[in-house]
Symmetry: C2
Subunit: 275 residues, 2 copies
């Protein structure tokens, strides 16, 4: 996955030897495209069209054309991945490297393994950033690599770590999704519930309330599709969520019981810890 | 509430003109005592005894003696406040200033107004700090003042702002408790539920997950009594908590429905936003 510029006349006409087809040109596709064009001859396909490419060395392509590139990056919503895979299969060339960039890894990788021909290489990627967190550049931001059917995993890692300067972590799909059930699914679920509360601005803000508000602000602009992918496409997310719901219900019940039996509660007399 | 040291021979024998009785010598009482002894002639009462005073200018006193001071600070667990008030009433002198330091204000202030003789002044205080947040000193930390039956609220504020160097916010008890239903009750409730999940350390940590963990760590060492006071003694906390529980349940249900109907869900085909 190394890039070799073969001929450079000016910034706008750099020619790269390897072709990369970006399938899915949504928020992430548009965000990552400028980084890819520095290293590859990039074309993109999206069912809704590929726009805003005038200043980029990126060409709008048909699905068929994008699928014939040396590297094919699948960046549709994870919910559409199966149909995208089925659509590209007839056009893939032997030796192509296919990579997905979904926020979950177990199911997308299983899909790719099942449906892509054995003649293509496969790697699963999860860039843990997007237009928001990467607005000042992607240097140092984390990406997870799940090797699947690699011709050369080392080259992929080398490109991500040394060309894009990302922080690379190699994990199995299961390791990734288990961790993300807490890191992403639980975090975004709690934030989604808090976002519905419209947390008031108050004259006095404790450090923990400041953290709570900041935490909600960090995820409140996620798209509904991403939220759903993180929650529903991660096989371990449901049980983590269910555990949280149970704890919330049990704690609420315990407090409600305490509140209604106030009059009869024994009163301790030792000192408190105001906070 | 200004302090006038009348005679100073050495640090350990400073004599202050005003007496202050601290009733309740728990974690907060012990924490705040050294700050008070710089300005008042302090004695303390606690049903479990007043210990660790060897290095402080603070004397252990009976409840009766503590109640006859110029200023009486009530620092028991809020759950015990009513019985403490009833116990001190026979001993209070006219003109005494009685202040509580509970984390909620509506009920404690109502109790003091109902049960304390009209001959004493009353102010409600909520120091939003404790041994943890104040371990490097209390300068600049927030305190809420609820004027109730003040001889001179300005003097109280002056002492807190200029002698203790706290950040003073004057609020009504209702304003305070409404704000704290979110700032404290909701925050500590969510943290309590998350604390039960034992959030794993993971190789990859997003900024929002880092916030989540930090936020849980900030409140996980609160005492059970403080947690209960914040939740059950604030008249507005129950509805805020109930609203959060409802949102959590509704969001979980919506996701579970989506998950089980996966096969039939229409798949959108536009680009995603990996995070």
């Amino acid at each position: 996955m190394s890039s070799r510029p073969t001929h450079t006349t000016s910034h706008s006409t750099t020619v790269h030897s390897k072709t990369l087809g970006l399938i899915g040109y949504g928020a992430f596709g548009r965000f990552i495209a400028p980084y890819l064009t520095r290293h590859f001859n990039v074309c993109a396909y999206d069912p809704q069209g590929v726009s805003n490419t005038s200043s980029l060395e990126i060409r709008s392509a048909t699905l068929e054309h994008a699928a014939t590139c040396d590297i094919v990056v699948l960046a549709p919503p994870v919910q559409a991945l199966a149909s995208v895979i089925d659509a590209i299969v007839p056009h893939l060339r032997p030796g192509t490297l296919v990579a997905d960039v979904a926020s979950v890894k177990v199911r997308p990788i299983a899909l790719m393994q099942e449906r892509l021909p054995t003649s293509v290489d496969i790697v699963g990627l999860h860039p843990l950033f997007g237009p928001q967190s990467g607005r000042d550049g992607i240097r140092g931001l984390p990406i997870v690599v799940c090797p699947v059917r690699p011709a050369d995993t080392a080259a992929v890692i080398d490109f991500l770590a040394n060309r894009l300067e990302l922080t690379v972590s190699v994990q199995s799909a299961e390791e990734h999704d288990r961790a993300m059930a807490h890191v992403q699914a639980l975090t975004h679920f709690v934030a989604a519930a808090l976002a519905k509360m419209s947390l008031p601005e108050t004259p006095i803000v404790t450090p923990s309330y400041a953290h709570l508000r900041k935490f909600v602000d960090m995820v409140r602009f996620d798209s509904p599709l991403l939220y759903e992918a993180i929650q529903c496409e991660n096989p371990y997310a449901g049980e983590v969520r269910a555990s949280f719901v149970q704890h919330v219900q049990a704690l609420a019940k315990a407090l409600d019981v305490r509140q209604t039996s106030d009059e009869f509660a024994p009163v301790p007399t030792s000192g408190p810890q105001p906070a």
